[in-house]
Symmetry: C2
Subunit: 329 residues, 2 copies
Amino acid sequence: MASEKPSRNDLPQVLLLRPPPSFYLFGDQFYLSDKFQLLKAYESPLPLSEFLTTHAQSIRAILSSGGAPVTAETIRLMPALQLVVTTSQGLDHIDLGECCRRGITVSGAGTIFSADCADSVVGLLLDVMRKISAANRYVKQGLWAVKGDYPLGSKLSGKRVGIVGLGSIGSEVAKRLEAFGCSVSYNSRKKKPDVSYPFYSDVRELAADCDILAVCCALTEETHHLINKEVLKALGKEGVIVNIARGAIIDEKELVQCLVQGEVGGAGLDVFEHEPDVPSELFELDNVVMNPHNSVFTYESFQDQRKVVVGNLEAFFSNEPLLTPVKND
Amino acid sequence: MASEKPSRNDLPQVLLLRPPPSFYLFGDQFYLSDKFQLLKAYESPLPLSEFLTTHAQSIRAILSSGGAPVTAETIRLMPALQLVVTTSQGLDHIDLGECCRRGITVSGAGTIFSADCADSVVGLLLDVMRKISAANRYVKQGLWAVKGDYPLGSKLSGKRVGIVGLGSIGSEVAKRLEAFGCSVSYNSRKKKPDVSYPFYSDVRELAADCDILAVCCALTEETHHLINKEVLKALGKEGVIVNIARGAIIDEKELVQCLVQGEVGGAGLDVFEHEPDVPSELFELDNVVMNPHNSVFTYESFQDQRKVVVGNLEAFFSNEPLLTPVKND
């Protein structure tokens, strides 16, 4: 007599509010595991609050992504919730305060995206300074043979780089740019005792002393619109700003104004305040290089992310230590 | 009585066959010196051979640039010639053999362009791998909000990079890419005793063992079409090639064929076989990023080049050691 095979329906449920980006790229079996099953709220015809109330007692974990906020209101509908796992580097879509109050653990992507993000910073920076995208278009339009040489770019080597937020991404940016002969300074909540780069407690002063500002910090109440007109003017007409963190860390309206008026030299932007809407004033500016929030998106990083997400959830349901718990107090 | 002021016409003459690129950008006083004057052959209505015959006895130095070859024929018309100074990193426009036979010293740009060239290699590479130019166009055409996410790029960190020509540029490329977590191997005429990177005497074998090939060698008879279809096929469908050296080091016809047929993953090209003519088959390929031979061209590098060019010529006319003589034997 064959032994009874356990059904997938017996596996613990992990709530999914919206399909994460990986589903569009790799299909909805991307996080398949024999330790849990995904409970897809977006496949239910019920309104979310009703859906959550129905499943209130069974949901011990959420798998969240940037596009689906985990609000205090959502959390309160799930009294059994113990874990929020996110697919993203950023945590600003999760109400960390409510998680802390409720004793809910949060697990992030760890440092798996740091290298790709840092690579994007350098790529956008080189593109802006050396006019790579603009010159590529010039060549592809057949203008080189007709109109001759292209306007000069500026040198990266030897420039002074200010890194806003020296976490895992910022540190990777520093390591790369040092190899280009740049000097590094940084701003963060507090001076890091084990770091020898000059520390600036004031981001405007950092900008004033730098040629390049690389925004690599988390979006929090403190960093919202941290980069405003005063900071940008301190960076100056030759200065270049790169942002791969979150759009709202920069006051986008003021950035657009500074770029249009030539008060900042150029910008490499992966993120925007109202994504996927992008200020159309920037479309015509060759000194602005924009990417559609994909600084973390490589084929390889998705594979790493899958391992971390599945690994965290499997560890949780096996009562083992999480791979990448977030410090949240 | 006022002392007689020495006239600029008394200064020794330095032959200029064609205006160098710097004149278009900074004007024709760019190499102004009180130790020499420029003799501009291109301003004379005489045919070049007649012009050179007329000035044969007075020309002891030539200031040359990439667009104006210094051929054996030209050299033979100048029996008094002792020095060729070039504004460029490459020397392939100078008949080095004839200079050697005639005992004419050649002075190059030294290493002043190495950092900018290496920066271009990394910039083009990141652009191809992370699709920066193509994604920038996507965002600027307003497609992000309409069509959604952009196709994934691939990760640079951890990739195996093969550097063809580990001179001053190649070494700077290696230094940068090590900071990205890449592993470096190289091919050159012979193994360098003071370098620990794995050496490949065969460029096809190097390509077979790498994800990325960065062409950084000089164009010589030996390196002409060094990168052919066999090398490109060894690099493979996922492989990326970057060339900031000279177009003719790659068999361009075979490269175009490999790119169009998807036998190579992508290319970042600053140089071409028949510049400024560029193969139009590449215009539509998003995995090909092209720049108009400007990897050395930044505002800062031109200022450094001016110092080296003027410094070499002034040293020569003052009987002092040259700043950047080229080893030519």
